[in-house]
Symmetry: C4
Subunit: 286 residues, 4 copies
């Protein structure tokens, strides 16, 4: 019976390992991790709603927020404990030393910060967590970044664009600065002494709003000369300030296409090799 129990236990551990560790799966995402992603997204929705004065002053919503927060913190605490426990299946993280090594990984620290501070505040009976604590919830983004390849692509695209992106950014910043200096002299020093152009930093705010074409309308030149300059800057400069975005978009697109091609050829390889056994076996149980 002890052997049977052990076997059950081993099977449970094996299944837990397959469910929790994203690298254990050959492809796709496990049901448990999908649930974690969903819970994180839901917690971001609640984080947003919780800050809305028209909601967080109503007792009903307050209670809903409190219950949901307790639930999420508890769920992530359980998830964390299970992750640390199951990590031992990997020879690298076996034993107490291995567990400590696991817990000091970047992702594990993010996992901890995603619930621990709020757990402490809740346990100490401080009621509603303080506003500063809520920012720590953004660490939950890192939790799900592991499962969503898009986040890795982002960084890869930035690295791929490299020099080109830096060059484009440098040119954009020089243009913003020079435009701001020009309008500062025309509208701030001369002209009608507009408050919004009274210094170069203020004029930079105008230059960025204009050259990115956001154009809030809180600042704009009013003198004829200022408008002539702003027009020339707008027509000539929008292309320059849009360069970094274009460079990044192109790198992102190339990166994604390459990955899809790689995945495709991998699948073709799988198909031809399908008679062989599974390549990513779980590590032996300790």
């Amino acid at each position: 019976m002890a052997v049977q129990q052990l076997m059950v236990q081993q099977g449970l551990r094996y299944r837990l390992y397959m469910q929790l560790v994203p690298e254990a799966r050959f492809r796709g995402i496990s049901a448990t991790n999908l649930l974690v992603v969903g819970l994180v997204l839901l917690s971001f929705l609640f984080l947003a709603l919780e800050t809305e004065p028209t909601l967080n002053t109503q007792p009903g919503w307050q209670q809903a927020f409190a219950i949901f927060n307790v639930f999420v913190v508890a769920a992530f605490a359980v998830e964390y404990v299970l992750r640390v426990f199951i990590a031992g299946l990997d020879p690298e993280y076996r034993g107490l030393v291995g567990r400590l090594k696991y817990m000091t990984r970047f992702y594990s620290i993010a996992d901890l910060l995603a619930f621990f501070p709020e757990l402490v505040v809740m346990s100490l009976g401080l009621g509603v967590p303080l506003i500063g604590l809520r920012v720590l919830r953004l660490f939950r983004l890192i939790k799900i970044a592991r499962f969503v390849p898009a986040f890795n692509i982002f960084g890869a695209a930035v690295r791929r664009a490299g020099t080109q992106l830096l060059t484009a950014l440098a040119m954009a910043l020089v243009l913003v600065y020079v435009s701001a200096v020009a309008l500062y002299f025309i509208e701030g020093v001369g002209g009608e002494h507009q408050e919004s152009f009274a210094s170069i930093p203020r004029a930079i705010w105008w230059a960025i709003a204009t050259l990115t074409t956001v154009g809030y309308g809180d600042v704009y030149p009013v003198t004829p000369l200022g408008r002539v300059f702003a027009s020339v800057i707008a027509i000539a400069g929008i292309g320059v300030v849009a360069l970094p975005a274009g460079v990044f978009a192109s790198a992102f697109s190339d990166e994604l296409r390459e990955r899809q091609d790689a995945k495709l050829s991998e699948r073709v390889h799988d198909y031809t090799a399908q008679a062989e056994q599974r390549p990513a076996d779980p590590p032996p149980v300790d």
Copy 2:
């Protein structure tokens, strides 16, 4: 005489079938269906004008709207009845059961919703149709979607872009959320406690207006720190939020080029095969 009459009737049915069923035509659009498209577009123009207070309070315009609506509803009713009647030429929709099968198709239901609710309201003498009914007129878009390949291309481009579009959208949304959280803390919690940044949902409204470069100007940061952050977000983020649009545009362009190539090679094929008979003969009359 009975035979002659039958032949005339058969000829009429055949012509009707060729006019109404878009699939019966080898290429292009029939005169009747072109008329339907024109009528739908005109009905959208009238729907717009009908809601304009400076027009719909004048008796002359009121009368024009009423007459036009009766005309359109009558025309679409006749068209619907003819479509159901002529559908029987197709073996699939022959007989009463076939007709019912035809009427429960997606496009047939849209055809019905495009006129029936208004017809009921008119028949019951309720006068001007209620505002809610007017939304149903948008089903007329589906009526014409059958004849306009552009609408199919839209869906095909979305499917083609697939994962890339989803990835780009996910990255855009994460950036919007993180930007909103940052500005919420800087401008809403700290700063000058701006009402427009008093919660994350409100800050999301600012983030979307900024990162899409719409920049209405109803919300913008006023503190120096908020402006520094908003500037960085604007320059770095516009590229990210523009990614989905770029991915879609590229997929749309590829899809359209492929279809034009296919059409061209089809025409070349037609030319070489022009001695043979018409491939898409109408189904035999029941």
Copy 3:
């Protein structure tokens, strides 16, 4: 002496033909036509300044405008007479009938409208030309369109983009309409009954300002639901409304590249054929 005089006259006519008729030149633009282009551009600058209240109420500027207008009208009148006179060198436009044929060409009519109405008003002593007359000066754009290949490229790019441009435009317009209907119901009918969303045509103004990312800020949703919809529309829709622009830009770029390649191969051909005589000789004198 008569023969000599004739030869001088012939030489003058030949030189005039080479100067005035753009097709007579193998490549580039003649000094006279360049002067015409410059004069047209200058007249557009003056047309703009002339409408500015802070300038046209000052006697000095009024005089400058009046003198310049008389000069330009006289110059274009002389140019027109010379063009009609010299057109006779071309066998097609020889004699009175040929001249009439020449004068009824599209470009000749534009040439006439570019100065004649103002000449009449000036001759009748009506002083400053009326405001309506000024619009006719835009015909001067057609005068210079003959010499500037860019204008032909524009049309060629539109034709090249063809179906793709129409499809993209249709999709953009459908999206504008549907967005306007949605916000009309949310903000105009429901919500806070904003005046700016009180009808579909008004909501279309909002939809266009938003989807083109112009975002004046004169109209924007204020209800939470309206903002959620506007956000979704903005993120998803900007790509669609930017499609026609992207399609056109791509067609323009392809067209220009093709022309440059053609010009290059033409030059290579010229170089190999440079021993032969000039291909485009002026037609014989009548």
Copy 4:
């Protein structure tokens, strides 16, 4: 001992030459020149802060600005003297005549203007340099343009785009002008006689703000006809005004890719030639 001293001096000169003259280095940037770039960037930050009223009225900041300015001017003066002195190592600039030739180069004049006017003002004890002098600090951009290849790429991309860029710009300007004339007549002359459309130059300001999609919101049409025209112009015109930006971005991207390819093949060449001696030896000492 004199020989030893000479050798030390020669070594110092050689090292100075390697540090100061960017062309002396085979690749990359020397520590000294990197310091110059950093100092220039810092001086731009200070130039911006110095104009901010909320800072430059505080004694603490005033002192910081004054000390930093003295330091920067002194540093650039020392740098200039060293550059002129060390230029003599190059046979072209040897002796007094050579030094004069060096000092009248474009880059040397920029180097001089970057500190000399402020040095004079400081020496004459005029205290804080006048506002006009500060513009001369923008010459410091030229100082660093020598070390940063991005600035050369900018010019190269403009030349590469050439005719295409000019054509696109011409089309954009024609569209801006025609749009402005149309709205001037609709909104300024007719309509509600809006002040903002009261002349063509004012309408041009609207046209540029709209067609670049900046849309400050200080000017927009209010009449139905004006809005219809503005909508058509916005949807059709944004593509045209975005053309120059697109053309430039494409030329920039091509230029950069070509340079990277050239650099790569250069490196491959270096690798195969690595046994040979350094190609760019410093010139012999005078």
